[in-house]
């Protein structure tokens, strides 16, 4: 969608008529016109990251004393504090478990449902429309208190499986919707041919549908993992001990507990929660884009 090259020079038909000098000025002008906004975009996006990285390498005293982007006495004390904090380690593990669990459960639940919606004629197919609207009609804030009270009533508070189930329920509509669109693009003929050849439904799923749907599955896995990794408000009310807290909650706790802000530790913590994504980002970028646009436009 966004990959089509655009010929910028086409926008200026006067280019060929203008004299040599004029065209050079125009060229510089155009470069500035393209370059300056892009530079600002880079600043806007990266300054918070840069400052945070810089602070994470400073001593605690320096964060209150001097501004310089380059720490005067670079130290990894902040990282050492965070990495030796048992709360960080358990939160990291919890985020990993909840993230992977949510990704797997979402796919297990959404894949067959999407297949049914895309391929079968059955009563209940109209539910698909509801699926597209529900996430918009029911934001997290609307179910936060009810889910908390239901979790208390059923003794499900403070369990990782509760988080996995809740996140899966939140993501399922989007995942189904995304995959239905994908299945509809897979020609039925392939499956019909396999059917004629005597392949069972399971074999068709296993050898035809799933391999073809791989990009959609990855998109959903990334989307689910990101949600579980970053979600803050539900984990805040559904967990009560460090044993089940995920990273955002642990980071929030760190910011709350300090008398005088321990900025290097907070910064190091924030950076460490971002790093897993940064490491794989170049590989998953297009899936992130797909998930992002899908999540918004309905």
């Amino acid at each position: 969608m966004v990959d089509a090259p655009v010929d910028v020079s086409r926008a200026d038909p006067t280019r060929h008529i203008a004299g040599q000098n004029q065209s050079r000025i125009a060229k510089t002008g155009r470069r500035l016109l393209v370059g300056v906004p892009l530079f600002l975009l880079g600043l806007w996006t990266f300054i918070p990251f840069l400052i945070t990285i810089s602070v994470s390498f400073k001593t605690k005293a320096e964060t209150f004393a001097s501004l310089g982007l380059i720490p005067s006495q670079p130290t990894i004390q902040g990282y050492r504090e965070v990495l030796s904090d048992p709360n960080f380690l358990s939160a990291f593990m919890n985020s990993l478990v909840v993230g992977i669990g949510t990704a797997i459960l979402t796919i297990i639940i959404a894949l067959p449902a999407a297949y049914a919606f895309a391929r079968f004629k059955f009563r209940g197919r109209h539910l698909l429309l509801l699926f597209t609207l529900l996430p918009r009609l029911v934001p997290t804030i609307g179910v936060m208190v009810p889910i908390y009270r239901l979790a208390v009533a059923t003794d499900m508070l403070d369990r990782r499986i509760t988080l996995i189930i809740v996140y899966t329920g939140m993501l399922a509509p989007l995942a189904v919707w995304l995959m239905v669109g994908f299945f509809q693009q897979i020609p039925r003929d392939i499956e019909e041919a396999a059917d004629v050849d005597g392949a069972s439904l399971w074999n068709r799923m296993r050898y035809i549908v799933m391999p073809l749907a791989a990009p959609a599955l990855i998109t959903i896995a990334v989307l689910a993992f990101r949600e579980a990794w970053n979600e803050f408000t539900l984990v805040l009310v559904l967990t009560t001990t460090p044993d089940t807290r995920t990273l955002p909650f642990a980071l929030f706790k760190l910011g709350q507990s300090e008398g005088i802000s321990n900025f290097p530790a907070e910064a190091a913590f924030a950076i460490l929660t971002v790093i897993p994504f940064i490491l794989v980002y170049t590989r998953i970028e297009r899936y992130v884009v797909a998930g992002l646009t899908a999540g918004s436009s309905k």
Partner: protein, 311 residues
């Protein structure tokens, strides 16, 4: 008139659907397949909403006592509570401010990326970075950025001889920082949507306007912006949704303070529920937010239909 027509394929639509009989499966298969998803969505989204609305009609006379049916009393009290009206005005500021800042910046950056296409495609990947981090991490970053004594923003202002406020403890400026942070986390999507719109605009319109001698500003105002209307509508509604129902940034950055200056409806609901432990009253607030949000969503659907956008 001897055109031989092929016989109409009446059975075609039927044949395209894989029916149970055709593939030797029981007709129950689609129900089995879709059941887990429908169950999950009902249990996590649909049921809690209905349960919450029902519970908002009850109230415990004292903390710890059994809840009694009070009808619409929670709603009546809510509308008479000055805290509610404070939250309403804060929400208006938050949503309105984020809309203006988010749309203007989003448009600016979308134009920037559009012009840079081809040579600087990786900039789009850069743009997405804020989408990958949690609200809490974003709040930590912006707390450091807007630190009152030595933060980057104030040092920058100091450079121009200006005395920056202590942003997060100032009742006027705290909201500005919250809006700024919220926009920062929401802008990747805004940019992507608007960029998508820009890519679909037919270049020949712009070329024709150029030949007619329209200035860059005229082209933007008379052509590009009107042609972008559908995408602008989507981003507007999406930003309103995200800010109206957003709790993470506010909670992690200011916790609603100072002195309630950033206590939006969502934040007020959280306070009533988890700080005052008045869950039923909080559910009345939550229901109110849901209704506001539903109105927004339906407006979106209506507008989307008008512009023939796929919803």
């Amino acid at each position: 008139m001897t055109v031989t027509r092929e016989p109409p394929e009446q059975t075609e639509p039927e044949k395209r659907e894989i029916t149970g009989a055709q593939i030797g499966q029981k007709a129950i298969t689609p129900y089995l397949f879709s059941f887990p998803a429908i169950l999950a969505v009902s249990a996590i989204l649909a049921f809690p909403v209905l349960y919450g609305i029902w519970q908002s009609l009850y109230r415990a006379p004292e903390l710890g006592l059994d809840e009694e049916f009070v009808g619409t009393q929670n709603y009546i009290d809510m509308f008479q509570d000055p805290g509610f009206w404070n939250a309403m005005s804060r929400t208006g500021l938050f949503v309105g401010g984020s809309l203006v800042v988010g749309t203007v910046l989003g448009l600016f950056f979308a134009f920037a990326l559009f012009r840079a296409m081809g040579r600087l495609r990786f900039m789009r990947a850069v743009t997405l970075a804020p989408y990958l981090i949690s609200n809490v991490a974003a709040a930590v970053m912006f707390r450091i950025l807007f630190q009152s004594d030595i933060g980057l923003i104030n040092s920058f202002l100091d450079w121009f001889g200006l005395d920056g406020p202590s942003w997060l403890s100032d009742t006027t400026w705290a909201m500005a920082v919250v809006i700024f942070t919220q926009v920062w986390t929401d802008i990747p999507l805004t940019i992507l949507l608007l960029l998508g719109g820009l890519m679909t605009i037919d270049q020949s319109y712009l070329d024709a306007a150029l030949v007619d001698g329209a200035s860059a500003w005229q082209r933007a105002r008379m052509l590009t912006i009107p042609l972008l209307a559908p995408q602008l509508v989507i981003t507007t509604v999406w930003l309103s949704y995200s800010t109206l129902t957003g709790l993470g940034v506010v909670l992690a950055l200011t916790g609603g303070g100072p002195l309630g200056a950033t206590t939006t409806l969502a934040m007020e609901m959280y306070n009533v529920a988890f700080r005052s432990l008045r869950f039923n009253e909080a559910l009345a607030l939550a229901t109110f937010i849901l209704v506001l949000n539903a109105v927004l969503t339906l407006m979106y659907v209506a507008v989307a239909r008008r512009y023939e956008i796929e919803v």
